[in-house]
């Protein structure tokens, strides 16, 4: 049922954008951003369900909580940066899009350093 709403919003926005592009091109970008926000809000409650499921699994089986929290944070960063990158690419600013992508990659790598270091320690312990 959600998918029909998503497709409907996307098609309506597409028609509005095409109509507005010839008179006022800047409003077309506003509408594309707003459609992205609307569709993300539609799927937001499912996303919360998934994240809560991951958290409940993590607390139930007491997996190393620090890493799971970090993974969820990294997915959040990737989620937001993908949102911005696609908007920048859509409006033709591929340079800005690649800068945002670069920034988000660097942030993700810097956040995943503890995971990498603990992985290396485990490997060193295993090696004779």
């Amino acid at each position: 049922m959600e998918i029909i709403k998503i497709i409907g919003i996307a098609l309506i926005a597409l028609i509005i954008i095409i109509m507005l592009k010839q008179y006022r091109p800047e409003y077309a970008i506003f509408i594309s951003i707003l459609t992205g926000v609307l569709i993300l809000f539609l799927v937001m409650d499912k996303l919360t369900g998934i994240v809560n499921l991951i958290r409940s699994i993590q607390s139930k089986y007491s997996i190393n909580t620090q890493f799971i929290a970090l993974l969820i944070k990294i997915t959040g960063i990737a989620f937001l940066s993908e949102f911005a990158v696609s908007i920048c690419k859509d409006s033709g600013e591929t340079a800005i899009a690649s800068k945002v992508e670069l920034g988000s990659k660097i942030i993700i790598i810097s956040m995943s350093i503890p995971i990498i270091s603990s992985l290396l320690e485990i490997i060193l312990k295993i090696l004779p």
């Binding site: 509005i16 109509m19 506003f30 707003l34 809000f41 959040g76 960063i77 989620f79």
Partner: protein
């Protein structure tokens, strides 16, 4: 936070486009520019409000 927001922005866009043409035909280019900027600011504030709600929900969800 629903589809009528899209229609509101489309209506403002069309209104500004029509007003721009009318004012340019009437010989008042500066007022035409003013109305375009005013429409732009109105729509920008609406869009920024929606984007900030999205960012807040995502931040609380992923506890960024």
């Amino acid at each position: 936070m629903s589809i009528d927001l899209l229609f509101k922005i489309a209506a403002i866009g069309i209104l500004v486009a029509v007003l721009y043409q009318v004012l340019v035909r009437a010989g008042r280019e500066d007022q035409a520019m003013m109305t375009t900027l005013a429409g732009l600011v109105i729509v920008l504030t609406m869009v920024i409000k929606e984007i900030s709600t999205l960012f807040n929900t995502v931040r609380t969800l992923f506890n960024l």
